[in-house]
Amino acid sequence: MAQVKLRDIRKSYGKVEVIKGVDIDVDDGEFVVFVGPSGCGKSTLLRMIAGLEDITAGTLEIDGIRMNDLEPSKRGIAMVFQSYAIFPHMTVRENVAFGLTINKAGKAEKAEKVAEAARILQMEHLLDRRPSELSGGQRQRVAIGRAIVRDPKVFLFDEPLSNLDAALRMDMRMEIGKLHQDLGASMIYVTHDQVEAMTLADKIVVLKDGMVMQAGAPMELYHEPDNLFVAGFLGSPSMNFLEVTVDAVNADNVTVHNTALDPIDVPHKGRSFTVGQTATLGIRPQYLHPSDQASGKLHGKVILTERLGSETVIDVSLAEGAKLIAALAEDTILAPGTAAHFEFDPNQAHIFPETR
């Protein structure tokens, strides 16, 4: 168990800076997920923590000790790769025990640790097989087993599930969550999948273009996104964004409207606006409720209704070609082509000064 501390971490390849000053804290036993679109620098960041990439600038500390220039094996970390990276010429047992063999551990210790890891991952029956005789999920288990026997302070996962099919991915996701509970170790997990991030994380770090957009508990990010990017990245279906005009600004609220939206007061949460500027209003599909013309605040026309069983997703077209998605309780049916009116709680809406 350990704390990991990143301070103003930077990484350049030649002249191109891909990590642009990142501060992150991982607490003892915390499960932290780095999430962001492909190419935003998640893997680079993780590999810098692992010691597989040099740190161009900044400080990396694990348990208060500067790690920048230490070999990967001296950092007390274990890493699980997207490709599993298990050795094809060794049996599962040899794979899991690789680090112990390298470090000349005794026979008894080796057997004991391998047995323990195999028990945790329920793969005792696989120990004498070769990787070519294993399924994708089983290979992933071997890779995790190899990490467990190292008894690391910090586990690092780089998109460990993205080579698995959908059903297996869900199983393994739960198993990794359970593993975290059982071992209580600090874990850093990289993914581009916001569902994995939401379900697994104690803390999510949203990255974009080598910068931290926001870090915090999943529900905190979900309900209180700091910016347009985080608001649009987390949640499914993703948040609706409307371009609106600011009519008035006061201590707590801004009043905004557009052609489809009646004037409404939305809490600005300290963000600064000027009257007359264009801003973006965000509202999650789940928080839109159908209503009549009089009490509705948003007005449009139904394009498509998709019944998913647990909810019904309605595509709505607003004036000026804007689009909106509403996720309604299961029994709500709106016929395509008819007018649709929605109301919502302004406290569940978000207003951002930037536009997309």
Partner: protein, 292 residues
């Protein structure tokens, strides 16, 4: 439908095997001619070349050519010399070239890419152009051996071995193969605490069966067929290899039968080596499963 398509497949199979058999025969016939001729006296051998009899063990068949060949030249010594020189060169070459390639493929150091380009560029330099400078060099090189200090490498085994250990082609083969190995395997080993030497011995080499076999075969062929170099650096019979030894049979009267016997003898190590490596090659692909 099924019947037709399986007929088609059968036909295709027959055709494929016919073609393959034909090709095999074309390649094998010179060998058959060599072996058959080695049992015949010169007169009959030359007469038979105009007919199919050249490939058949007919007429005056005996082992006389073999006895005569051993009388004329120290055949056993030549074969021993060639096998020794070839074997040692192949071993050293596999070891050192793979280590050089490991460094080119996995380690980061200044000038790596430039040096690799230079190494690859040596592929286009023909040996003939460096033979004389190399000769001048080895003739002045010092050596410390069991007999103490000496200068000049001429008339030794080492002069036939050491200049041939490192070569651009072998290094290039290894570099290409190493670059295709999954990088994650190397990085996982580093995270697990393996030193570069351990990564080389425990991870990379066990996965390199196919390229080891390929490099070994290529090197073997080059070394076993050495002619020009030993011709100029080895004057003493003691260190003479097989190809230079062939000259013993081209004196006043060319002894064709004995030549065929000699060639048959010196072909045996080649076939043995090839068969062993071919099996190792297939076994290593099957067990490591690196490809596919």
């Amino acid at each position: 439908m099924a019947a037709i398509s399986s007929d088609n497949r059968g036909l295709r199979l027959v055709m494929r095997y016919t073609v393959l058999t034909l090709i095999a025969i074309i390649f094998v016939f010179p060998l058959v001619f060599m072996v058959m001729s080695s049992f015949k006296p010169d007169l009959q051998l030359l007469r038979d070349t105009s007919s199919i009899r050249a490939f058949l063990p007919v007429g005056d068949i005996s082992l006389n050519n073999y006895f005569d060949a051993f009388d004329r030249a120290p055949v056993g010594l030549f074969v021993f010399n060639s096998v020794l020189v070839t074997g040692l060169t192949v071993l050293f070459s596999l070891f050192l070239c793979s280590m050089a390639a490991f460094s080119f493929a996995f380690l980061e150091w200044k000038g790596r890419n430039i040096l690799l380009s230079i190494v690859i560029a040596t592929l286009i330099v023909p040996f003939e152009t460096i033979a004389i400078p190399l000769l001048l060099m080895v003739s002045k090189l010092p050596w410390i051996g069991f007999e103490g200090f000496s200068v000049g490498w001429l008339n030794t085994y080492r002069v036939q071995i050491i200049p041939w250990i490192a070569d651009g082609l072998t290094i290039f083969l290894f570099v290409q193969y190493f670059k295709d190995l999954p990088r994650d395997l190397i990085e996982a080993s580093r995270v697990e605490g393996a030193s570069w030497w351990q990564i080389y011995t425990k991870v990379v080499m066990p996965l390199s069966g196919p390229v080891l076999a390929t490099a070994a075969i290529l090197k073997f062929l080059v070394m076993y067929n050495q002619y020009l170099w030993p011709l100029i650096v080895v004057q003493e019979e003691t260190y003479r290899p097989v190809m230079v030894g062939l000259g013993y049979f081209f004196q006043l009267n060319t002894a064709w039968g004995e030549i065929m016997a000699y060639l048959t003898i010196i072909t045996v190590p080649v076939l043995a080596f090839y068969l062993v490596l071919q099996r190792a090659f297939i076994a290593s692909i099957a067990s490591t499963g690196v490809k596919g």
